[in-house]
Structures are given as structure tokens and as C-alpha cells.
């Protein structure tokens, strides 16, 4: 019996040290990934908001068939292998005529010509290059791409960034599982947060309560996140070496679910518009993108990609026979026929991204992200706070916490300011979005080192966050001229949502600032009164 309890105690102690060390060592980076992950949930909305755009459904209103024919005539033959089409956030329909080949960094990539057409069907821009390069330099997505890339690879060169975020996912998995295992009164303490003498909630309790509630999704998100990181960083190619003896092309065809070496015999293709109409009717929605393969040949096929609809959680891919326009199948995400692997994947995507039921599911996933952020912040603060009292050499850790927790949102907001200002000046938005992040990070670092009083530093950064959240909607209005009235007229939900969220965050920041001021005032009064009572006692 005694041995059992001592073994239990040492196990609990081991779990606690695992929990705290995984948090202390990787907690700050984990916070960066969780925070930007929360933002990434609404990456599409941020894209639309940053361009003051709303979906035009150009794929349905314009003559896709005629446009593809016209562009095919002026595009080199080798790029007619595959044509992808989607509507971007600047009211343009983008067509990318491409073939597949290895890019300089050795990965399979798309290479070809990209045309952006306005609603009248006139070519606005024309770019030739690798798909990944063209996307990386596209100013339309400068802001959302920048923020999402912090989440996926912390802007560290591939594959190391992905490996790091994968490890962070594993750390989050360790932290949540060990937190779950070491808490003996999980259900008893589920609702109770003790108060300190000064009326503030006990940090430890806030941490455990938030942690307890977010355990299921923390585990799921960490698990799926590390899967994404590892499989893109090295997993898929490594499995290709084992399963296909290193034939990466064979692996790609198995995953995409296509036969290798298709017939290239010439044959007229059916009308694309009719296939589009049929797909739209089947899904009662507009497709997110269109992929036309081997047009003008015997093996022509058309794939229309749809976001989840009507209670489903997986993406839908409708495939048409390009030669006669017949509907062929609902294609699974991987492989050519439905399989366990493809159904697991089609579950992992919505669970991780939260993008399966429009804004509704996104709001819930943002809340899950906020809860996870709160657990990380409160956990690290708990540690910083405990050591702050004991050892003065750990003071820097509290400062680091303030710098990271308040600095990262502020830098993200600053990069948004950079995006808008550079856009209105007509300079390179992709560069300036990143540069504004770096500049503001440097400024915040200097500020964090120079302001001696840590409470003052916290307040300054909080005020900065509130101010930027307030300024951004105005900045967007002045640079684009699209006001709320117009937004309501055109039912610009995404834009209004981001705008409202920013204003809400701004109010929250100022409220928190007001509260902490009030709290300080109270403390001063209390010390004053105790001082005066001491005086009178004398």
C-alpha cells in the first residue's frame, strides 16, 4: 500500500515536471503557433477584409468556356496539361495554365502562365513561373499568407519550420495529456476558481479550469497539427520511398488518384459552362476552384472543388468527363476510390481548420483557440509569477512573457497597417507586410528592455493593441473607400465580421486597461490607509 502511494506520488511528480518543462521550454513558441492558428481560422475572411472584397461568383457569371478557349490559343502547348481557375480577393478570375515539374528546391511544383482577368474578361496581369513562387509574390494574399505562414512554419525555411511546428504539436500533446493525467480531481474542480485576498482569481485555478475544459480539443488540434507538419515536411516523400521505391511521381498519382501516362490523342472537349452549371446545381453552391486536366485530348477531365455543405464536414470534389461533359463521380480527397485513409483525412481537415460550416464553425474554433491561448498564457505566467517571488534572476522570464503575449498580437496588427499603407502607396505589399512585422517587433523589444516597471510595460502594450484594433477599420476605410453602408448593401459578411471582431478586441483591451488601472488605484489606497492607520496608532 505504502509502496503504491509513493509510486503514485513519484509518478505525479514526474508528470508535473514533464508538464512544466514542456511548457517552459516551448511554451512561448507554442503560444505563437496557437495565436496565429486562431487567426488562421479566418484567413479567408482576412483576405477578403484586407481587400475590401466580397465573392462575385465570377465563375458562374462569366463565360468560362469561351475564356479558356481564348487563353488556350495564346498559351504555349506544354502548359495546357492542367488549368486551374479560382476567384481571387480582388474581383478577378485567375487562370493558371501549367504543367508539373521539379522546382529549384527539388519539390514537385506547378509551372506555367497565370492570367488574372477582370469581370469584363480582360487580362489584368500575366505571370510565368512556378506556382509556389507566383503565389508567394501575390499581393492579394500578402496579409493572410503572412499570418498563416507564422502558424504553419514560423517563417523558418522548409522543412525546418514545419519540423519545429510538428515538435510544438507534440509538446502540446504532452502538455495536455500530462495535465490530464496528473489532475486527480478533474471533475470536482471543473467549475471552481478560488479568489485571492485581493479579489483576483487564483492563476493556478484559472489555468486548470481552462485547461480541463479545453483538453479534448487541445489533444485533437495538437495531434492533427503535428500530422500536417510532419507529413508535409518529410512524411509523404519518406512513405513514397518505402511504398513506391522512391518514385515520387507514382506516389503523386496514387494520392491524386489518377492514372499515369494518359492518352494524349486529340479530341474536342465538351462545354465547360454546362459542367459548371451541373456541379452548381448538385451542390447548390459556387465552387471554390476548378481544375481542368488534359483539355482537348481523349483523357480530358474537369474537377470542381466545393467547401463542405449541408451538414457535411468533408470537402466535395465533383469530377466530369471532359470529352462529353458527363458527371463521373464524387472523388475522394486522396486515391481514386473511397478508402479509410481518405475518410480519415476528410475528417482531419475540418477538425483542425474549423472551416466546415462557414462563420458559425469558425467562431467556435476561434473560441477554442482563445481558450488554448489562455491556458498557455496562464500556465507560463504561473511559472513566471512563482519564480518572480523567489529568485530575482528569473525576472527576465516575466518580462519575456509580457513581451511575447502582448507583443505578438501587436506585431500582427502592425503588419496589417503595413499592408494597407503600402497598398495605398502602390509599393510591394508582400514585402512591407513582413517588414512592418519585423520593425514593430524590434520596437517592442526595445520598449520591453527599456521600461523598467513591468506593469507599466504591460499597460503600454495593451493600450497599443487596443489602439491598433481601433485604427485598422478606419485605415481600411480610408484606403479602400468601402464603408459599412456599402458592406451591408452587398452583404459583405466576412468583412463586417473581421471589422466587428477588431472593434470588440479594442474594447476588451481598453476595458482590461481600465480594470488594471482601477486595481492599481485600489492598491495605492489600501497601502495609504494602512500607512495612515499605522501613523495614528503611533
Amino acid at each position: 500500500m505504502d509502496q503504491n502511494t509513493s509510486a503514485f506520488r513519484s509518478k505525479a511528480k514526474a508528470l508535473l515536471s514533464l508538464h512544466s518543462w514542456s511548457g517552459i521550454v516551448l511554451g512561448m513558441l507554442l503560444y505563437a503557433v496557437i495565436f496565429t492558428g486562431t487567426v488562421a481560422v479566418v484567413a479567408d475572411e482576412i483576405g477578403e477584409w484586407s481587400n475590401s472584397n466580397y465573392p462575385q461568383r465570377l465563375m458562374l457569371t462569366s463565360d468560362v468556356n469561351e475564356t479558356v478557349k481564348r487563353l488556350s490559343a495564346q498559351t504555349p502547348k506544354e502548359y495546357l496539361d492542367e488549368i486551374s481557375a479560382y476567384e481571387n480577393d480582388r474581383q478577378q478570375l485567375v487562370y493558371f495554365f501549367h504543367t508539373h515539374k521539379q522546382n529549384p528546391s527539388g519539390d514537385m511544383d506547378e509551372y506555367g502562365v497565370q492570367y488574372a482577368l477582370n469581370s469584363q474578361g480582360e487580362i489584368v496581369t500575366e505571370k510565368t513561373g512556378f506556382g509556389s513562387d507566383i503565389y508567394a509574390q501575390d499581393d492579394t494574399y500578402a496579409l493572410s499568407r503572412f499570418l498563416v505562414s507564422i502558424h504553419t512554419e514560423l517563417h523558418i525555411p522548409s522543412p525546418w519550420g514545419l519540423i519545429l511546428t510538428g515538435i510544438l504539436g507534440l509538446a502540446m500533446l504532452i502538455a495536455s495529456v500530462s495535465g490530464f493525467m496528473m489532475h486527480r480531481h478533474l471533475f470536482i474542480d471543473m467549475f471552481s476558481i478560488r479568489k485571492q485576498r485581493d479579489g483576483q482569481s487564483l492563476k493556478r485555478d484559472s489555468h486548470t479550469v481552462a485547461g480541463t475544459w479545453s483538453i479534448p480539443f487541445a489533444i485533437l488540434l495538437a495531434f492533427t497539427g503535428s500530422f500536417f507538419s510532419f507529413s508535409t515536411a518529410f512524411g509523404i516523400p519518406a512513405m513514397g520511398i518505402v511504398a513506391f521505391g522512391g518514385d515520387q511521381e507514382a506516389l503523386m498519382y496514387a494520392m491524386v488518384g489518377e492514372q499515369q501516362n494518359k492518352s494524349e490523342a486529340r479530341m474536342a472537349s465538351a462545354n465547360l459552362n454546362l459542367m459548371l452549371q451541373d456541379a452548381v446545381q448538385r451542390q447548390s453552391a459556387a465552387p471554390t476552384f476548378l481544375s481542368i486536366s488534359h483539355i482537348g485530348t481523349e483523357s480530358a477531365s474537369v474537377l470542381a472543388f466545393f467547401m463542405p455543405n449541408e451538414g457535411k464536414v468533408g470537402y466535395e470534389q465533383l469530377v466530369y468527363d471532359g470529352t462529353n461533359g458527363d458527371f463521373v463521380e464524387y472523388k475522394p480527397i486522396v486515391g481514386s476510390v473511397p478508402s479509410l485513409g481518405s475518410s480519415i483525412l476528410s475528417l482531419i481537415y475540418p477538425i483542425h481548420f474549423g472551416t466546415f460550416a462557414g462563420l458559425w464553425s469558425k467562431i467556435i474554433w476561434i473560441s477554442l483557440g482563445v481558450a488554448a491561448c489562455y491556458v498557455t498564457i496562464s500556465g507560463l505566467q504561473l511559472y513566471a509569477h512563482r519564480n518572480q517571488k523567489n529568485e530575482s534572476s528569473w525576472q527576465w522570464y516575466s518580462r519575456l512573457c509580457v513581451w511575447g503575449f502582448f507583443g505578438l498580437p501587436l506585431c500582427s496588427l502592425a503588419s496589417t497597417v503595413g499592408f494597407f499603407v503600402s497598398g495605398s502607396l502602390g509599393t510591394n505589399q508582400s514585402v512591407w507586410t513582413q517588414l512592418s512585422f519585423v520593425i514593430s517587433a524590434a520596437l517592442i523589444s526595445v520598449l520591453s528592455l527599456s521600461i523598467k516597471n513591468i506593469h507599466l510595460l504591460k499597460k503600454v502594450l495593451l493600450a497599443g493593441n487596443g489602439l491598433f484594433c481601433l485604427i485598422l477599420p478606419m485605415l481600411r476605410y480610408t484606403t479602400s473607400g468601402t464603408g459599412w453602408l456599402q458592406a451591408l448593401q452587398h452583404n459583405m459578411m466576412a468583412m463586417m465580421f473581421i471589422e466587428m471582431t477588431l472593434l470588440f478586441c479594442s474594447v476588451w483591451c481598453f476595458f482590461a486597461l481600465y480594470k488594471s488601472m482601477q486595481f492599481d488605484q485600489q492598491n495605492i489606497n489600501q497601502t495609504n490607509t494602512s500607512f495612515s492607520t499605522q501613523e495614528t496608532a503611533k
Binding site: 512513405m239 486515391g335 478508402s339
Partner: protein, 94 residues
């Protein structure tokens, strides 16, 4: 600080739960591509090991970290290492 760091790297558990577990779970994933039934879609043997990697790693990690019987844990990892390496060698050389 220096002493405790030294102690940390000397600890058998660190090597067992850290690099050894990582290596074994990666080998497990790769070997799984060989023996896992690919199914009609021919993708199950690629997707499932990838999905299971974090899970396999987590199970092995918590087991080796918490077990009181280090010897048993050690032998388990060695056995897994040998079996999975054998599968992979057989695949590439056999």
C-alpha cells in the same frame, strides 16, 4: 545548473524517452507502409501510418517516461527497432 544538465544527459530515461522513442516511432511508421494493407484505394498504407505517427510516438513516450521497469521498456524499444528494421531491410534488399 551545469551539474544538473550533465545529470540530465546522463539519465538513461532521457535517452530512452527522447531520441530512442523518436527513432523507433519513425521506423514503425516507415515499416507500416510495407505491412499495412493498402486497401482498394491503394492509399491506406501511406495515410494511416502518417496519421498514427504522433499517436505511436505519444504512447511510446509516455510509457518509457512513466514506467518503473526500465529494463522492460528498453527491451520493448529494442524489439520494435529490430522488427521494423528487419521489415524495411527485407523490403529494400529482399
Amino acid at each position: 545548473m551545469g551539474k544538473s544538465l550533465l545529470f540530465f544527459f546522463k539519465s538513461q530515461r532521457f535517452w530512452l524517452s527522447g531520441p530512442a522513442t523518436l527513432l523507433v516511432s519513425l521506423l514503425f511508421m516507415l515499416a507500416m507502409a510495407v505491412w499495412f494493407p493498402p486497401g482498394v484505394g491503394n492509399v491506406n498504407n501511406i495515410i494511416l501510418p502518417l496519421v498514427l505517427l504522433p499517436l505511436i510516438w505519444a504512447i511510446l513516450f509516455f510509457y518509457t517516461y512513466l514506467t518503473t521497469n526500465m529494463r522492460k521498456a528498453q527491451w520493448l524499444l529494442v524489439a520494435l527497432f529490430v522488427v521494423n528494421s528487419a521489415i524495411l531491410t527485407f523490403k529494400f534488399l529482399g
